[in-house]
């Protein structure tokens, strides 16, 4: 048994196979991106324990992830916020964790996506369970998992074939997703979820920018719109304003009592989302009421000319990368003008 020959052949062929595989996916327009999975969330959450009262944390849903660009924010304030928002999530579990499991007394920017913020407090509902699972993971992650993730980041940043997403998305390139995408016929009779792909590029600091494809190619944007319609077209429970507001208010009181500051941000939406939010979650009854109860400043895009004139949104819910830069700059300028943000920059 000449294993030396076999090992050399295996090594050379593996390199050829994997290089070809990488080039194939790059030729399809794929670029490396970091997976915004529970490991990345936990790595960001871990930073909270070292923050001072001059630091800023962002919680919320995907809108505040796409629309607040951390680099632009840092340029104007000298402070780079810790991004702890999660896609498709209510901010309640993460804020609850910060209030109850840390001593942080800086500023928390709360992104308010009405359909998610006011959805529910029921622990098994997806907008709560999903971010809570990430919080729980942070508290029980092992040394091995931390080390493993730390090692994987440079690989995710440089190789398309490594850079898949924790959630099962149709555009992942791992073998399991490729096989899952094979459909012969619909034996179960269940409605098939519309094709959905990752339309944001994620960095290790969890900064998310919309991909060029989504902001310039209407076919791509329409696929996302179709998925939004499918999600919102199903039987969704009505919003639960009272319990969500009360839950947040309780934590906000504790947080403010120890010196913490809360700032609400309502990002723009358009089309299907704008109409739906206006109809089912009117600003006066939901967003304005929340601000009154919590008694904290809030920035609604409709209140500022420089924010409401920004072109929104290729897929109705998130800003393109360039517009997110503009949105961040204008928003931060307004906040600085109102003196609600800490800044390390000399005036």
């Amino acid at each position: 048994m000449n294993l030396k020959t076999s090992a050399i052949i295996a090594l050379v062929l593996t390199l050829i196979f994997i290089t070809s595989w990488e080039f194939y996916w790059r030729s399809q327009g794929r670029v490396p991106t970091v997976d915004d999975d529970k490991y990345l969330f936990a790595a960001s959450r871990a930073k909270v324990d070292k923050l001072t009262s001059d630091d800023i944390i962002i919680v919320g849903s995907s809108r505040v992830m796409f629309n607040i660009q951390l680099d632009e924010f840092e340029k104007l304030t000298g402070v780079k916020p810790i991004q702890l928002a999660n896609v498709g999530s209510s901010p309640l579990p993460v804020f609850h964790d910060i209030v109850n499991n840390t001593d942080f007394k800086g500023t928390v920017i709360v992104g308010v996506t009405p359909g998610l913020f006011f959805s529910t407090t029921y622990p098994k509902a997806s907008p709560i369970e999903w971010p809570q699972s990430r919080v729980d993971y942070f508290h029980k992650r092992t040394l091995s998992e931390r080390f493993n993730h730390w090692l994987s980041i440079p690989l995710q940043e440089n190789f398309v074939f490594i850079a898949t997403h924790g959630e099962v998305l149709d555009d992942n390139v791992d073998l399991k997703t490729l096989l899952n995408n094979v459909e012969i016929n619909n034996r179960t009779g269940r409605p098939r979820y519309p094709e959905f792909f990752e339309f944001g590029s994620v960095r290790r600091d969890r900064n998310v920018r919309m991909t060029v494809e989504t902001s310039t190619d209407t076919v791509a944007a329409n696929k996302i719109k179709k998925a939004w319609k499918f999600i919102l077209g199903g039987e969704n429970p009505p919003p639960d304003k009272n319990s969500t507001t009360a839950f947040f208010e309780q934590d906000a009181k504790t947080f403010k009592a120890r010196g913490g500051k809360i700032i609400f941000v309502r990002s723009p939406s358009s089309g299907f989302f704008e109409q739906g939010e206006a109809m089912f979650l009117p600003r006066e009854r939901f967003y304005d009421s929340l601000l009154t109860v919590v008694n904290s400043p809030g920035y609604h895009y409709q209140d500022y000319e420089q924010l409401k004139t920004i072109d929104c949104c290729p897929e109705w819910s998130h800003l393109s990368a360039e517009n997110a830069d503009t949105f961040t700059k204008e928003l931060v300028k307004i906040m600085l003008n109102d003196n609600v943000l800490p800044t390390t920059k000399a005036d």
Partner: protein, 471 residues
């Protein structure tokens, strides 16, 4: 630390560099291996290394006393101390909540109002494996079947040796500790064969278990509805493949890694789904556990030395406890009971039926055995009896209508994978991977190896834990 993780590969590379470094003497290398093994375990939960230390200290001391004492009473007391500590750990950490829950149910059933909060005890990874391994040492010492380990370092390394620490194979002292006495160094061929086995093991875990089979099994066993017969069968078959690839994958990795260090570990699986009958199955499935149960439970219970009734009782007790070893739940006890029952039935037919193990009859009998094994897997995988009951009734076509939860492609995928698995086991039934590799051209083996590595890399193992870690 998981074998299917990046951190493990960094860890292994450092261990190998230090191990083959000419600046260290054998004693220092063994010390390095011991420290690496503690680190390997501590990377999961550092405080629980203390359990390993206690187990090591107690059994080292017990072994020392058992080697020198002649007074049988005192010797028995030292053995009992070793068993009490190891079984005490196992009882508290693994069965604490289960015992409390059953105690609560029992007193409630007799009319006493008693409520107890679950203790939510964390289950130390691999506790069932290392406690059984270290107990085998003291029991063998008591029975004077093995020599006392020469040094504490040798013994501590035997208890903690990282390749097989958390999921076996459960190795006897005379098989492993003696290998630590003399300097060990893998030959180039041994090293590469070890690397090849590591690849095979990772392929089994990452590609076969996690990528191809786990989601179908999870979908079926996670369904709340009464299922269509096809779905119930396919989910069960998927789980049968998943658990084999997951566990055999771990054992193959462990054997391969040890071999890269020049240490030989025994086989733990020998193509079990080609077994003909259940005695044959247990000579092929988790061999190190079944031989442990045979030597330290079945034979002490009387084995076949006291007539047929005692034999059946010994068989049933061994399998019931073997079931409970896998997990603190009654479903595992039923799994063990079914295997015990199968063994008893097989015993009754022994000598009365002429069984051919070759040709069509052999294949049909292997298929029959595999089918019966699948019935038991339902209880092993189901978290609740209601799920198991629904699955079994669906599998035996007792539900007229049932929900279809698997897509056509999933049904085909599971069918193809399991058919290939069964054929491979049948072909390999009386041979070994090494024998087949010897007859294969190096070029073909190299191409095969590259395909395995490529499939592992593109499967993107998300670091799923091995199923047997929880046992």
């Amino acid at each position: 630390m998981l074998f299917n993780s990046l951190s493990f590969f960094v860890f292994l590379a450092i261990v190998l560099v230090l191990y083959y470094s000419p600046i260290f003497k054998w004693q220092q290398k063994k010390f390095m291996l011991l420290m690496a093994s503690y680190l390997f375990y501590a990377m999961w939960n550092p405080p629980l290394v203390i359990l390993l230390w206690i187990s090591t200290m107690v059994d080292w001391t017990a072994g020392k006393k058992l080697a020198v004492l002649t007074d049988q009473k005192k010797r028995k007391l030292w053995l009992l101390l070793s068993l009490a500590v190891n079984l005490g750990f196992l009882g508290f950490f693994k069965y604490g909540d289960f015992l409390l829950e059953n105690f609560t149910n029992l007193v409630n059933a007799i009319g006493i109002n008693f409520e107890a909060k679950p203790m939510d005890i964390i289950l130390p990874m691999g506790i069932s494996f290392y406690t059984f391994q270290t107990m085998s040492y003291t029991i063998d010492m008591y029975n004077r079947k093995t020599e006392r380990a020469r040094t504490f370092l040798d013994f501590a390394l035997y208890v903690t040796f990282f390749p097989q620490l958390v999921a076996g194979p459960i190795v006897r002292a005379k098989e492993l500790v003696t290998q630590f006495y003399e300097p060990k160094k893998a030959t180039m061929n041994q090293f590469l064969w070890g690397a090849f086995l590591l690849t095979i093991g990772l392929f089994q875990k990452v590609v076969m278990a996690d990528t191809l089979l786990s989601s179908s099994a999870d979908t079926v066993f996670g369904a709340k509805d009464i299922l269509h017969a096809t779905d119930a069968w396919m989910g069960t078959l998927a789980f049968s493949g998943q658990i084999f690839f997951d566990f055999a994958g771990y054992s193959t990795c462990a054997i391969g890694i040890a071999l890269m260090l020049g240490i030989v570990l025994p086989d733990n699986f020998k193509y079990p789904y080609a077994a003909i009958g259940f005695s044959d199955l247990w000579k092929r499935w988790h061999i190190s556990l079944s031989s442990w149960l045979r030597d330290y439970l079945y034979i002490p219970l009387g084995g076949n030395r006291h007539g047929i009734v005692r034999l059946y009782i010994a068989l049933m007790l061994t399998m019931l406890l073997g079931g409970l070893w896998h997990g603190a739940a009654w479903t595992f006890v039923i799994w063990g009971a079914l295997h015990g029952l199968y063994l008893v039935i097989e015993r009754q037919f022994r000598g009365k039926v002429n069984v051919k193990t070759v040709g069509i009859q052999g294949i049909l009998l292997a298929l029959l055995t595999y089918t019966c094994v699948n019935i038991t897997w339902v209880f092993f995988r189901a978290r609740e009896f209601s799920t198991a009951k629904n699955m079994i009734t669906s599998m035996f076509f007792m539900n007229d209508e049932g929900t279809k939860v698997l897509q056509t492609f999933e049904v085909i995928k599971v069918g193809v994978v399991i058919t290939i698995l069964f054929i491979c086991h049948w072909i390999m039934r009386n041979t070994s991977m090494k024998e087949v590799s010897k007859k294969t051209s190096p070029v073909v083996l190299g191409v095969f190896w590259a395909i395995l590595v490529f499939l592992i890399l593109i499967s993107q193992g998300s670091g799923e834990q091995f199923i047997y870690f929880q046992f």
